[in-house]
């Protein structure tokens, strides 16, 4: 296995005290630490930091050689009583390993869903409050994108890297729909950086063969190997201990033995299934803890083109269309973001001379979190997921977007549009420890501090009050930067 210079064995830290204890090492934890350690340099407030990670440390070469990011199958870590397979990575870097590196921001209306459309909830702050942190997260990950996207998602800084080259269908749509159709922003490098190669459209983003997408291994090593940090891998957190309204300690298992470490500040970023499970095992079941687990709903279609070739863009997904995203319809059906694929998901077309005249599109639709979709504990303390799958709001949004598709694609010579099925999962579990101003209906506040245990910060997509149709990782990163600055500045 790979090693971090900060790595330490469980036995060496057992019983010790740390200023900050971070649980998990994915986007939420990594970006929180990124900001916290920056303040440590100036204020020393973060002090001695311990990171506890359930999985092992695997570098890119090891993952490639083994053909997988981790040996821990996500389904082996919880009992699933819902129809969805919930996907995540347990290991150093968490979701930074398996993500496809699509980085659209959330839409301004996503933060005001209830005020604007009378459904769901408002976030406790608006898009403008998060915008500077979006910029910082994009800088850290060297995001590629077109500044023209500010027409829909206002931005105060240019993208760090230029946008990827659009495919021909995308370019035609961009010309016809300049306010709705954009090059997909992404952490798949347009040009190489000091630690990443440029994307060469291998179309295998979950485990990029050329290490072009941002991961903890190529983008957060200075954080996890910071002199203030000690990193303990193979440490499965079982519970938090409390006293007098504060978290006092973390219990974890490693090598078949239980250990306890004490701390002052605790950061929980163990994903939207295991973070609530840790709280529930700790007897921390305040408010809707564990309720509202959800993700977006995705369907796939294939548009058959007449005389226009696809696949000449420079990365796996080259277009994002907002024509079905926002409007009064959101009182009844979810926002839909259309992903234009620069890959032959359904194969080349069999007709001679028309191999590339196909345009796969993924329609991703927001869903409304429901309290009945939730994380509970089994009799043995194991996490259980209960739920019924996608809601009517999401499925109606998908049908609405499908009905809009001929109009959205009207600048293309479309022969026909074929439905290709429902995606089993978007691999974006979220919403089980939602943030809000009201302690009765949310778990953490706008600063991501637990409403009751004020030395507990929750990071990651579990804090999302509502869904969005956009990919969550950039927003997770921006939220963590904001939370850390609010706490430590």
């Amino acid at each position: 296995m790979a090693r971090l210079t900060s790595q330490i064995a469980a036995e060496a830290i057992s019983g010790q005290h740390f200023d900050t204890i971070v649980i998990g090492s994915g986007f939420g934890s990594g970006f929180f630490l990124h900001e916290a350690l920056r303040h440590t340099r100036t204020t020393g407030r973060t002090g001695r930091v311990l990171v506890l990670e359930w999985g092992e440390i695997r570098d890119h070469a090891q993952q490639l050689a083994d053909g997988r990011q981790t040996r821990i199958a996500p389904g082996s870590t919880y009992t699933n009583h819902s129809p969805r397979p919930w996907n995540f990575t347990i290991g150093f870097g968490g979701g930074t390993n398996c993500w496809f590196a699509q980085t659209p921001r959330f839409h301004p209306s996503d933060f005001r869903l209830n005020s604007l459309y009378g459904v769901g909830r408002d976030w406790p702050f608006d898009y403008a409050a998060l915008e500077p942190f979006y910029c910082e997260a994009e800088d850290i990950m060297a995001i590629s994108g077109d500044d023209d996207m500010a027409r829909v998602l206002p931005r105060s800084r240019p993208f760090p890297q230029a946008g990827h080259r659009m495919s021909t269908p995308d370019a035609l749509l961009k010309k016809a729909r300049p306010d709705q159709h954009f090059v997909m922003p992404t952490a798949r490098a347009r040009v190489g950086t000091e630690t990443r190669n440029g994307c060469c459209a291998n179309l295998r983003c979950s485990l990029c063969p050329v290490d072009a997408k941002f991961t903890a291994n190529n983008g957060l090593m200075d954080v996890f190997q910071h002199p203030a940090v000690q990193f303990c891998a193979g440490a499965k957190v079982t519970a938090l201990e409390t006293a007098a309204g504060s978290i006092t300690a973390v219990r974890f298992e490693s090598g078949g033995r239980e250990h306890v470490v004490t701390g002052d500040l605790f950061v929980l970023g163990a994903n939207a299934i295991h973070s609530p499970a840790i709280l529930l095992r700790s007897g921390i079941d305040h408010g809707p803890t564990g309720q509202g687990l959800h993700e977006a709903y995705g369907i796939e279609v294939e548009a058959m083109l007449d005389g226009v070739d696809n696949f000449d863009g420079s990365t796996i997904t080259t277009g994002a269309d907002y024509g079905a995203y926002d409007g009064a319809f959101r009182s009844q059906s979810g926002a839909a973001l259309l992903y234009f694929e620069n890959r032959w998901k359904f194969g080349l077309r069999p007709e001679p001379g028309r191999w590339r005249q196909t345009l796969p599109i993924v329609i991703v639709v927001e869903d409304l979190p429901r309290d009945s979709e939730r994380v509970l504990l089994g009799a043995d303390g194991r996490a259980e997921v209960h739920g019924d799958g996608a809601g009517r709001y999401a499925m109606q949004g998908a049908e609405r977007a499908l009905a809009q598709l001929p109009q959205i694609l009207s600048a293309l010579p479309v022969e026909r549009i074929e439905r290709r099925g429902v995606r089993p999962t978007e691999s974006h579990l979220q919403g089980s420890l939602r943030m809000g101003a009201d302690a009765a209906t949310s778990v953490i506040d706008a600063g991501q501090l637990h409403h009751v245990y004020r030395n507990l910060v929750v990071v990651g997509s579990s804090v999302f009050p509502t869904c969005s149709a956009a990919n969550p990782s950039l927003t997770v990163a921006a939220l963590s930067l904001r939370a850390a600055r609010g706490l430590l500045a």
Binding site: R165, G198, C200, A201, N202, L203, R204, P209, V210, D309, F311, D312, G313, S314, T315, N342, W344, F346, G347, L348, R349, P350, P352, G353, W355, R356
Partner: protein, 149 residues
């Protein structure tokens, strides 16, 4: 070969479904699979020139990369290729025909895609000898269509 009706042929395919070929695809494709894939490709892209051993390597890698029809289904599909019955499934009544046709179309598109990417075959192939360079997923930075300028 003429004692089987087109409907019986396709019905048999539907009954068995297109299932995984147990034991195949682990280093070699069966002779039937190689023949089926070659016939399919000739029908889809036209005649092409390629060394038999190289094509067998492609067929083996392709068979290992996806769920392939079982032996009986391969034989029936080969028969369909010989008889020119490849589009008949769509004319079967009910949903069974559409389901079979969809599976056959997916196999066709898969083999076409993998072959074209692995050989860089032009459309149409023309007279040049094609060479197998490994499946697309086995290599990096080998996307023939992506442009970066």
């Amino acid at each position: 070969m003429t004692g089987i009706s087109r409907r019986a042929l396709l019905g048999s395919l539907g009954a068995g479904g297109l299932v995984l070929a147990g034991g195949l695809g682990m280093g070699a494709a069966s002779g039937g699979q190689v023949d089926l894939l070659r016939r399919m490709l000739v029908r889809l892209i036209g005649p092409f020139r390629m060394d038999d051993a190289e094509f067998a390597r492609f067929a083996a890698d392709f068979a290992a990369s996806r769920a392939m029809p079982g032996t009986a289904q391969v034989d029936l599909l080969r028969l369909g290729e010989v008889l020119g019955a490849t589009g008949a499934a769509e004319r079967l009544p009910g949903s069974a025909g559409a389901k079979i046709a969809s599976r056959i179309e997916q196999l066709e598109r898969d083999v076409l895609t993998q072959f074209v990417l692995a050989t860089r075959a032009p459309d149409p192939p023309g007279g040049e000898i094609l060479h197998y360079g490994g499946l697309f997923a086995a290599n990096a930075c080998n996307n023939p269509y992506a442009q970066f300028g």
